[in-house]
């Protein structure tokens, strides 16, 4: 299997009063192609920092990160990625169709390919009827779906989702979960952070848990969680153990 994500000895330090704060401390993990990997951890553990390094928003202090073998600092590494940010937003003065179309153009798509991709994404998101409305008129859930659509327009091999269901009502969460399930069935590699453990358990096959900037667990979910145990129990136990060791 090829590695979609490879993180080796990665550290990130932020300058602070009189020194540095270590947000990530020599972390190592990888995600194989075709895996659906949940990236879990308490608030402030380093999940978004890791994702921001993968997307090139943040530079690593030490170590390296690669996506499909390309250094994440090169913009070409982002050609095969789809990314949905935490609290996503987009240009509200555009219609849903225009937002997808402009995003497609940033990936070099034009003409019929672009149009057919836009139409396919709108259909998958169940947004065809609202496609020509301005995004400023959309509900929070519709906005989240169109932002997810923007992250899928280039038919990415790796999809990175940062709290994809955060701030959504149960129906909105169910819609996003369905879309993730569909992407998993298509064989896409998905790497997502979430606080919704029951939700993560239903879709992921791989697990990485981070606490205080250190990776405490990484592996296949069916090997880590014993029969009779669920992800929530396992997560709490792991985090408490990590806190004692700290």
């Amino acid at each position: 299997m090829n590695k979609a994500i490879e993180i080796v000895d990665l550290s990130v330090k932020f300058p602070s009063r009189g020194g540095f704060v270590e947000a990530l401390s020599h972390i190592n993990f990888s995600v194989e192609t075709g895996q659906v990997c949940a990236f879990l951890g308490p608030n402030g553990a380093g999940k978004t920092t890791t994702i921001h390094v993968l997307l090139g928003f943040l530079a690593a202090t030490e170590g390296m990160a690669k996506i499909f073998g390309e250094d994440v600092r090169k913009s070409i590494a982002r050609q095969r990625i789809g990314y949905l940010a935490e609290h996503p937003d987009t240009y509200r003065f555009l219609t849903g169709r225009e937002a997808l179309s402009i995003t497609g153009r940033l990936f070099g798509m034009t003409g019929r390919t672009l149009q057919s991709n836009v139409n396919a994404i709108l259909a998958m998101l169940d947004m065809t009827s609202a496609a020509n409305r301005k995004i400023s008129t959309y509900s929070r859930g519709m906005m989240q779906r169109i932002c997810l659509g923007q992250s899928l327009i280039n038919n990415p091999d790796l999809i990175i989702l940062d709290e994809p269901t955060g701030g959504l009502d149960p129906i909105g969460r169910m819609n996003i979960r369905k879309i993730i399930g569909r992407l998993r069935d298509e064989g896409k590699t998905i790497f997502f952070s979430s606080h919704e453990l029951s939700e993560a358990e239903t879709v992921c096959d791989h697990l990485v848990i981070i606490s205080s900037g250190n990776i405490v667990v990484s592996g296949a979910i069916n090997k880590l969680i014993k029969p009779g145990e669920n992800l929530e129990k396992y997560f709490m136990k792991t985090i408490q153990t990590a806190a004692i060791h700290d």
Binding site: Y83, P88, L106
Partner: protein
Amino acid sequence: MTKGLIIAVTVWLKVIRKKDVYVLLILLSALLSWLTTMNIFGLGGTTRYVSDTGLLLAWFLAWILAVNVSARELPEEENRGTIFSLLAKPITRAELIIGKWLGAWTVVCTANAVFYLAIWAIVAVKSGYIDPSAMIQGFVLHCFALAIITAIGIAFSTRMNFDAAATISFVFTGASLLLLPRIPEFAVKEKGLRAVVMSLIYHGLPHFDILDMRQRIVHDYGPVDVSTMAALVIYAMLLTVFFLVIAWLAYRKKLFSRSELM
């Protein structure tokens, strides 16, 4: 470059879709028409007075618009959090800066063209005459001055919020527009360090005054020769590139905090 053009198109779409720009343009055009038709000291019928007042207003209004449009773009992306999904695409920060600048500059130049057309129309209605070649040269050089102003607005906005970037851009470009041409008058009376500082300011800040053809248009001195025009255009282009490079240097490793979204 194509990605820069796509970013520029989004700047245009925002300006077109957000109605406040139309309101501003209508208000400014009404103000322009009203001021140029006022009869101060009985000069209302003189077309030189009309074109002088009109061109002064065009410079003033285009300056305000240039700073407002350019200093707004990057901070707005960061405040709304759209910067994250944008930079997650295969687009470099240099392309983003060029796209934002190109969008802001072309928007302001279009508004500027409306102002110049309005002035030309008012003068024509008053049976006056403006040398068209001097007017076109004046417009072109004014647009290149706006290229520098928008690049300055973008450069300051890479590290500041909109309010701070707009204020500093107004102070910086305002000082260059209004005070710089007067410095030689003061400098001849100064000696030592003060004279050196004045000389540094005079040579360091952008000289918008040499791109200002208002007096040539108003007093009908005719167009400047081709070599002078080329030198002025090259000067403006070099300064624009200089400020865009400054913007890129300030932006290329900028960290974005999630707290900005909360």
